[in-house]
């Protein structure tokens, strides 16, 4: 298997905090890979190291076949980054932004204009091409930001929370664009806090928790790890009171129901019990949960964590 990104034992410390505590990654070329984690888990630090912005304190990382510390220039020739805050020039128009990036990427003036027009059309910005970016909506900025990363089709694309702050429609538009990038042959490495985004987009997902990869696999593999169904207790209005994962055995299901039975909410008028398949949310919560109450089946590669989610 050809790897576009390979990290072994990455460590980074800011002050007294270990942001990354031995991170391992292996991303196959041509795939979409999602790094999932809560705020502060180290997602942006991981991207910053892989894109040569920050030096790791320990460990090694290779991107597109080159060491990020020893050969940053070679890595930079093969990557593009769309960071968290839209990296666009607000004073320039969309065309001027794209032409500038094209020139900086080694295109001639004419080629840069041709490529800019092409991308503006593809991202639905042709009508606004001559407007200053300062007048753009959040969704338009994000699309331009992504277009800037595509000015030359580099092998590895990094997207740091590409859809944060976007409305549902803009988000879905962006998803289809990201999907098509991978179809063109690029490797896409994205971070997200949205499970749905990872579920819909990514070939493989890694869950980052406290500076380490706590679980990694396809969406289906991750869901399978949680074991059995989830038992929910809902109140008379259908609101979720308690949900408990089970390990898939009859004994586990009974234990979960007994647990619910001890809850005062179970005796309330109109309270009812549901059983459903686990979602990626359950996996995420199971791996990253800090408040423990009910034992959960162990997740490979991490400590057995416990879960009790009350909404």
């Amino acid at each position: 298997m050809t790897l576009a990104i390979q990290a072994v034992g990455l460590r980074k410390r800011f002050g007294r905090t270990d942001v990354l505590a031995g991170l391992d990654l292996a991303v196959p070329a041509g795939s979409v890979f999602a790094l999932l984690g809560p705020n502060g888990a180290g997602k942006t630090t991981t991207i910053n190291i892989l894109t040569t912005l920050v030096r790791p304190d320990g460990g090694t990382a290779h991107v597109a076949g080159h060491d990020v510390v020893a050969q940053p220039g070679e890595v930079q020739r093969r990557i593009a980054l769309t960071g968290q805050s839209a990296a666009v020039d607000e004073v320039l128009t969309a065309t001027e932004n794209l032409v500038m990036l094209g020139r900086l990427s080694g295109l001639g003036r004419r080629d840069a204009h041709v490529r800019a027009a092409e991308l503006l059309g593809r991202f639905g910005l042709a009508d606004a091409a001559g407007r200053r970016v300062g007048t753009y909506s959040g969704g338009m900025r994000r699309r331009l930001d992504l277009a800037l990363s595509l000015i030359v089709p580099v092998p590895v694309l990094f997207l740091d929370e590409p859809t944060t702050g976007l409305d549902t429609r803009s988000r879905q538009e962006l998803w289809s664009v990201i999907r098509s990038l991978a179809d063109d042959g690029s490797t896409v490495f994205l971070t997200t806090q949205y499970l749905e985004e990872a579920d819909r987009l990514a070939d493989r997902i890694a869950v980052l928790d406290r500076g380490r990869i706590a679980a990694e696999g396809t969406s289906e593999e991750l869901k399978a790890r949680i074991g059995g169904d989830v038992v929910e207790l809902r109140d008379a209005d259908g609101g979720l009171v308690v949900e408990l994962p089970t390990d898939g055995t009859v004994h586990g299901l009974r234990a979960a129901v007994d647990e619910l039975d001890r809850s005062p909410a179970a005796s309330a008028d109109g309270a009812s019990v549901f059983i459903r398949r686990p979602s990626l949310d359950d996996v995420f919560l199971a791996i990253t949960a800090r408040d423990a109450a009910v034992p959960l089946s162990p997740v490979e590669g991490s400590d057995p964590r416990e879960l009790l989610e009350t909404k």
Binding site: M1, T2, L3, A4, Q6, A29, G30, N48, T51, T52, L53, V54, H62, A64, G65, G73, Q76, R77, R78, I79, A80, L81, G83, Q84, S85, A86, A87, V88, D89, V91, L92, E96, M100, L101, R103, L104, S105, G106, R132, L148, V152, P153, V154, P155, D184, G185, S186
Partner: protein
């Protein structure tokens, strides 16, 4: 480690020697031209200051009417300082928005983005200097400089603009936000008043005089004044050049250190 191969994607080519610099210079020019308020100020401020100092203060300071010949170098530096201060805001804006990270993940000297701001500032402020001189000539400024002395004036003014622009760029790198950069920069704009720009240093209180005599702006003023009005130059030209070069060296060193430390750590 497996090798990376691909058929549909490409790597960025290596850039020509000054492609990045010229791209960033044209970016900063577009920024300058589109900032209509700043552009207007760059013309209005020199005009207003020139008229104010000759018509309102001038007769009180020097009833003989010769004050305009004295004050022109001071107004040039005051306006250049004002014009260069926007560099701090531009640099800070680049650093605090994500755009610097995009440049830093590309195979270019990311310091080239600062070169763009500096060159744009130099050109903007040379235009402002031309406006000052034009207005001054209209209200009675009568320089006696030879063409060679004019070239020397241009050189000193350009060197001063570079020095103060690099200093403002470093301040922009040090500031936590564009607003803060604007605030710090403001302090520097008062320096010309505590120099020989508007009144002779001899008229100042005893405690202030040594400061006014030995701060960097006084020798720059004295040099320009001597060249324009054919006054004795003394050693002020050496001090002027020395100060400017020292300020550039310190600002570039400080700026490079700040740039490495801050970029990627928003």
């Amino acid at each position: 480690m497996t090798t990376f191969t691909t058929t549909t994607t490409t790597t960025r080519p290596r850039l020509g020697a000054v492609t990045a610099e010229s791209t960033f210079v044209s970016r900063s020019f577009i920024h300058s031209v589109r900032d209509v308020e700043a552009l207007l100020m760059a013309v209005v401020l020199p005009t207003m200051l020139m008229l104010m100092f000759t018509w309102i203060f001038g007769n009180a300071i020097d009833p003989s009417g010769g004050y305009v010949d004295y004050v022109v170098p001071g107004i040039i530096l005051l306006c250049a300082g004002f014009g260069a201060s926007s560099t701090a805001v531009s640099v800070s804006r680049d650093m605090t928005t994500g755009i610097i990270d995009r440049f830093r993940t590309m195979p270019i000297r990311s310091g080239a983005v600062l070169t763009g701001h500096v060159v744009a500032s130099l050109v903007r402020n040379l235009v402002a200097t031309a406006v000052v001189i034009a207005v001054a000539l209209l209200v009675g400024f009568r320089p006696v400089a030879t063409p060679l002395e004019w070239v020397a004036v241009l050189g000193v003014v350009a060197l001063y603009i570079l020095a103060i622009t690099y200093l403002f760029a470093a301040i922009g790198l040090a500031a936590s936000s564009p607003e803060a950069a604007n605030g710090y920069g403001f302090i520097l704009l008062f320096l010309p008043y505590v120099s020989s720009a508007f009144v002779p240093v001899e008229t100042m209180p005893d405690w202030l005089r040594p400061i006014a005599e030995h701060q960097p702006i006084t020798p720059v003023i004295e040099t320009i004044r001597a060249l324009l009005m054919d006054a004795p130059l003394g050693d002020s030209a050496w001090w002027a050049v020395g100060w400017c070069v020292a300020i550039i060296a310190i600002s570039v060193g400080w700026g490079a250190w700040l740039f490495r430390r801050k970029a990627g750590r928003r």
